[in-house]
Symmetry: C2
Subunit: 233 residues, 2 copies
DNA sequence: CGAACTGTTGAGAGGCTTCAAGCCTAGTGG
DNA sequence: CCACTAGGCTTGAAGCCTCTCAACAGTTCG
């Protein structure tokens, strides 16, 4: 249920590129390398669900995930995305709680599973690793706090413009200035915290105002300054 | 500017009660005890501000703080509260960033300042301390994520009811079922993320519905079940 | 080729915000 | 001791932003 059959390439099973593991010595890295397990995940696959017991955390070596919570009437609230170089599922693992978010594949992905015991070993063995973990969580907390302020104080219009800019920064543009991440209107709504129809209406207003161009799910960013202005940044 | 003159009692300068420091050995605790600095803070005092460079984190041994971010037009968004046993200012410290929140005294307080170097020493020296730090941040992140979902999906009415219940859980009730934390209507609005007038109107509706009673700033919780129902919990 | 999902547009309703005006309480200074 | 001021609290009215419902077009995929 969890894994897809075929194995990922050796390149995509390699964790040595992760900033988080940079300070490990040979022995520590060897153990991590031995105990990890990498697999492919197809678009649409759910890696873990709210309420699941987690046995380890995952390192993303390819693809994109959305991490969301299920709120009223099953409406998704997207908390963040994860891409190559990020780790997921670590929060509930560290807290020894059941997962309180769901992770779903948006773009075909490769994950390396690192067992809880390995995590604990690394924390015990290498203080620089612990510090790095701490910094990752603190970073995520900063973003969460700033998002709370935005949702609480800004209008839907402002938030949507801001989200487009954030997506641009996180996932870049291709050579045609089009967002490299492809989301449904509903998913956009579930980031911004609004109704799907509102996203649709606002996107076409942005288009009329020459801030973006639309071709189906592809969103082309034309006027960054203009979007910043709308977003009130 | 930062400290108030008189020194706190020895009892309020004692950090041995903190869960976070439980796993320290004698030497580690002695160094913490030697390097900490405790002082009194009067209501209204700002401990640190957005943009400040932090030299350490603080342990709260008495009083209540509000931690907030300043949004559009200077409107405060309260992110969380801190009370006895909590630590504050650690997020930006760990990330080596300028503070991105402001901490203000709501109830006369005592803080013990722990220098950055001491924090680093403890992380290097004691992996259990690091793990505990990690767990504290992860806990806060969980709350932040759940708050994002609430603000994004619930109505102001639902959120206000929920906030009252959260305040009840965090700060308890006195023997008359009155919330022990005293907030202005504006502060309540800055937690919920709404206008002051909306809070006022909703509070008097709650009163009419016999969920609460009001005597100035004192809020008496009468019908917990009813509030939970309104809050959609 | 049809089913299921996604996207679009319109209309109507209502929750909240904003503005404005007045009241109340507490602290201050004459 | 009392008037006075400032800040907090309350209420009303008007209007807008956003949501919901509904109908339909377009797309994708088995």
């Amino acid at each position: 249920m969890r894994k897809n059959s075929s194995l990922p390439s050796t390149e995509e099973s390699d964790l040595s590129g992760f900033q988080l593991f940079k300070k490990l010595n040979n022995e520590e890295y060897a153990r991590l390398d031995y105990e990890k397990e990498c697999s492919l995940y197809k678009k649409g696959t759910i890696v873990y669900k709210e309420g699941n017991r987690l046995t380890g955390f995952f390192c993303v070596t390819r693809g994109i995930f959305k991490i969301y919570k299920t709120g009223i009437d099953g409406k998704e609230q997207i908390i963040r995305f994860a891409k190559k170089g990020n780790i997921i599922a670590y929060r509930s693992l560290v807290s020894r709680e059941l997962a309180c978010t769901t992770a779903k594949v948006i773009d075909d992905a490769v994950l390396c599973h690192v067992p809880y015991q390995t995590l604990l070993y690394l924390i015990r063995s290498n203080w620089q690793f612990s510090l790095h973990m701490l910094q990752i969580v603190c970073q995520e907390l900063r973003e969460a706090n700033s998002y709370i302020t935005d949702i609480a104080q800004k209008s839907v219009r402002e938030r949507l413009a801001e989200v487009l800019l954030i997506l641009k920064n996180n996932f870049d543009l291709d050579n045609q200035n089009t967002l490299k991440i492809s989301l449904t209107r509903e998913e956009l709504a579930n980031i911004v915290g609004t109704a799907t129809e509102s996203v649709i209406r606002l996107l076409s207003e942005f288009k009329q105002d020459k801030l973006i161009e639309l071709q189906g799910r592809r969103i082309k960013i034309i006027d960054i300054r203009g979007l910043q202005k709308v977003a009130n940044i």
